[in-house]
């Protein structure tokens, strides 16, 4: 029942807004030849970005799973950070490292080596891997942690080699989790706009989202915008269908939840391999973020009061959106175990074009209220919907395992309703719930653009204020606001993630 309501709400938001735009336009419009080029570039870059992120995440997640070292917990937490950065902040961080005037090129020049350019398709992929490698790593790490420790012990006592462990335990787990992680990233990259444009180097890097932007703003061709929005949804469904066929459920059975620490596999080669994977990933993720902080942090204390107010507003929006996301995600995840369509419904917001979403909502709500008065509620609703797919993706593997391992026991005990939620579901899902809440909160902090039509500068959120500072030439203040945004986003993420981990322990 709750799941059906949640699914309906999401469908109404994603398809309803698209319908509202098409209805206002009086139908769908023909696509231009340039749009097809944009569609091809969009799909290609998303394929490469998602595949690279997912594959690179395997050695990193495996190394993090089987090694223990000081700072491991902090590093895993930090893994959530790039994903939640607003695009403009992340791009600035990446440019500080990989840009023409970045650290990398300065280093290469010192060594007398030729400079490398970040601008072009390679830059788009680099940025998308920066955003999504950590997400993939976290999703895979959860998969690893979901394999009962007893299975690894059995493998060890049977004298499994690392490759045997891989083919009997890790391989099946990857087969179950990797397609889902890949799909989530593929879909994120599908709607990329600012990153693809800024680092893409020019019109060759036009994405569907930019074409929608052009249709709305340059041509005011709502019919074409609706068609492009529909094209995005169609691509999403095609990708979903493809991954559904590949992903296979894993069947490890339930464990005893022992917190036993596994002995890491011996051998210098494996050790070096894991160390390199962790070090490279950590440097790749941390250095650009450190660059943003280094530039902005010193000026945070002297930021104008308006920025702090905006920060408080953003925090309130993020908390409200998080509550809403979880309220939607949990019933959907539980229902999706039995019926795939709930998973599809919960994934759909991922491909909703923010512009179509905003415009559609505007058209739907405009007759009832002045848009400015709805600024914050709309922000909360849209942020919650956009965070839902990630929350769902985080919860799904754990709910599947939960149902497979405990459903019969719970049924035989007559455990239903609230008691089932309190005694079985919440404790078993604490860790992914915490992670999902963290993602939702941080994503909502950093979100921007969806609500341009509703935005009320008197109630500006922190990302909007960041843009206002940049627009007023105040780049130093903007850098400070970016640092503040990063610290707050990450703080929320870390807090929820910790709550989840502690509740689980």
């Amino acid at each position: 029942m709750a799941a059906r309501l949640a699914a309906l709400a999401v469908l109404a938001l994603v398809l309803g807004t698209l319908g509202a735009v098409a209805w206002r336009a009086g139908g769908l419009g023909a696509l231009q030849t340039a749009d097809l080029g944009a569609a091809r570039f969009t799909v290609l870059q998303a394929l490469v970005s998602a595949t690279l992120s997912a594959l690179l995440a395997v050695p990193v997640a495996r190394a993090l799973h089987r090694r223990r070292f000081p700072g491991r917990g902090a590093l895993i937490s930090l893994m959530g950070a790039p994903f939640i950065l607003p695009a403009v902040v992340a791009v600035m961080g990446l440019l500080a490292v990989f840009g023409r005037a970045g650290v990398l090129n300065d280093g290469l020049a010192l060594l007398g080596l030729p400079r490398v350019s970040i601008y072009g398709a390679q830059g788009v992929v680099l940025a998308h891997v920066f955003f999504n490698l950590p997400l993939a790593t976290r999703l895979l790490l959860q998969g690893w942690q979901a394999i009962p420790v007893e299975r690894f012990r059995l493998a060890a006592s049977l004298g499994f080699t690392p490759s045997a462990t891989f083919s009997h335990l890790e391989g099946p787990m990857l087969r179950a989790t990797l397609p889902g992680a890949w799909l989530a990233i593929f879909l994120v990259c599908l709607t990329s706009f600012a990153v693809a444009l800024t680092l893409g180097g020019g019109p060759a890097a036009t994405t569907i989202e930019l074409a929608i932007y052009q249709a709305f703003r340059f041509d005011f061709d709502l019919a074409r915008a609706a068609s492009l929005g529909l094209l995005q949804v169609a691509l999403c469904i095609a990708a979903l269908a493809a991954t559904t066929r590949i992903a296979l459920p894993q069947g490890f059975g339930a464990g005893l939840d022992r917190r036993a620490v596994l002995a890491p596999p011996a051998g210098h080669v494996l050790r070096a391999q894991d160390a390199v994977a962790i070090a490279l990933a950590a440097a790749f993720l941390i250095v650009p973020m450190a660059a943003v902080l280094a530039r902005g942090l010193p000026a945070v204390a002297v930021l104008p009061a308006a920025v702090w107010l905006a920060a408080a507003r953003s925090l309130a929006v993020a908390l409200a959106a998080t509550a809403l996301t979880l309220a939607l995600a949990l019933p959907l995840a539980l229902a999706a175990v039995r019926q795939r369509r709930f998973e599809w419904a919960g994934t759909l917001p991922l491909v909703a074009s923010p512009l179509v979403l905003g415009t559609g909502l505007f058209l739907m709500l405009r007759p009832f209220a002045a848009p400015g008065t709805l600024a914050l509620p709309v922000t909360v609703a849209v942020n919650a919907a956009l965070a839902l797919p990630f929350a769902l993706r985080t919860l799904l593997p754990a709910t599947r395992a939960l149902e497979a391992d405990y459903a019969r026991l719970a049924a035989s005990l007559g455990l239903t309703g609230l008691a089932r939620l309190r005694l079985l579901i919440l404790p078993r899902l604490a860790r992914p719930l915490g992670f999902a809440a963290g993602l939702a909160a941080a994503l909502s902090m950093g979100d921007l653009g969806v609500i341009a039509l509703f935005a009320d500068p008197a109630q500006a959120t922190l990302p909007l204020q960041l843009y206002a500072l940049m627009g007023a030439y105040r780049m130093a203040d903007a850098a400070a606001a970016a640092s503040l945004l990063m610290v707050l986003s990450f703080g929320l993420f870390w807090l929820f993630d910790r709550i989840g981990t502690h509740a689980d322990a």
Binding site: A194, P203, F220, P371, T373, Y467, A472
Partner: protein
């Protein structure tokens, strides 16, 4: 349980903030772009001075940037709550006029524009020349025109004409200066362009970080650095072809329920109180220079040899084909 209580409290606080706005005074709603009404734009000062003796409540509604403003207006049509729209430029006014939503303003032409501009529906409040800005410590001698820029290895960052008003301005600049040869000019520029950003802010930020030698902005941009930062290293390059103008205008809507207040506001835009604050908040030239004159730093800015500007109709007709040329030349 406690986090949920806190959350509920926050939600209630937000909700009450929406409700507590009931007032008896007539409300004048001005739809404009975001940066006009940000803390650092002209909006707050204008609101304070106008409300001093209008006996009204002046409410600004932000709608992104200039192009988003037009999209919003087209979307809402006659149902818009706005009485005045402020912030369109001449590359957008033809489309705006065609909606039939605007009423004549009846004001005299503004005196201090570099070209004659007299539109019955729109009154200008500020203007500026597009220009490429550079840092003199990194680029001592900037190229003298688009051809020299194309032939040089100077790196530039520009904005996308499909998503940004300055980006569209550059498109029209090249078209106005070179006409049929515009595609050739863009082909020459292709290898100079580091990247194309969605908006002005990203481009300008990247330039300041050293990602490019020059950035598409305004001739007035260096004044910000002088006045706010005491930094004299930023300069705009004067191009021999002349510089394209951006004239920002305001207009009253036919459907306004406060026509008298709206007209009063449009006239007020030309008062010294508003025009005097434009140079150092919007960083543009005022349409009517206030008696106090321009800030000192403006004396030091380049003055283009020639002002280029297409009529609104020409601009509307030119931008589709010009965009196709631009894409073809750069999409390699």
């Amino acid at each position: 349980m406690r986090p949920f209580l806190m959350l509920a409290g926050l939600l209630c606080a937000t909700a009450t903030a929406f409700v507590a706005q009931a007032q008896d005074k007539p409300v004048l709603t001005v739809l404009t772009y975001d940066s006009f009404i940000s803390e650092w734009g002209p909006g707050p000062v204008i609101e304070e001075v106008f409300e001093r003796d209008c006996g009204c409540d002046l409410r600004f509604v932000g709608a992104g940037d200039g192009a988003a403003l037009l999209a919003r207006l087209l979307l809402e049509g006659a149902r818009t709550e706005a009485d005045v729209v402020l912030g369109l430029d001449t590359s957008l006014t033809a489309q705006a006029a065609a909606t039939g939503l605007f009423a004549p303003h009846g004001l005299a032409p503004a005196p201090d524009l570099p070209v004659p501009y007299d539109d019955p529906l729109f009154t200008p409040y500020d203007w500026g020349w597009f220009a490429f800005v550079h840092d003199t410590t990194r680029l001592a001698v900037p190229p003298a025109d688009f051809l020299a820029l194309g032939a040089s290895d100077v790196k530039i960052v520009i904005q996308d004409p499909r998503s940004s008003t300055p980006g569209l301005g550059l498109l029209l600049w090249v078209k106005a200066a070179y006409g049929e040869r515009a595609a050739e000019v863009w082909e020459g520029l292709a290898d100079n362009i580091v990247t194309v950003t969605p908006g002005w802010s990203e481009a300008y930020g990247m330039f300041l970080e050293g990602e490019a030698d020059m950035v598409l902005s305004y001739t007035t941009s260096p004044a910000y650095h002088v006045i706010a930062e005491g930094d004299v290293t930023k300069e705009a390059a004067s191009f021999a072809e002349g510089h394209y103008l951006q004239i920002e205008v305001a207009g009253r809507l036919v459907g306004s329920d406060q026509p008298a207040l709206a007209d009063r506001f449009l006239a007020f835009l030309h008062s010294p109180a508003v025009q005097g604050t434009i140079p150092e908040t919007n960083w543009m030239y005022p349409a009517t220079i206030s008696p106090a004159g321009l800030p000192l730093a403006f004396d030091w800015l380049i003055l283009p040899v020639k002002s280029l500007l297409m009529s609104p109709e020409e601009a509307l007709a030119a931008r589709g084909p010009a965009l196709a040329e631009w894409r073809a030349a750069l999409a390699r």
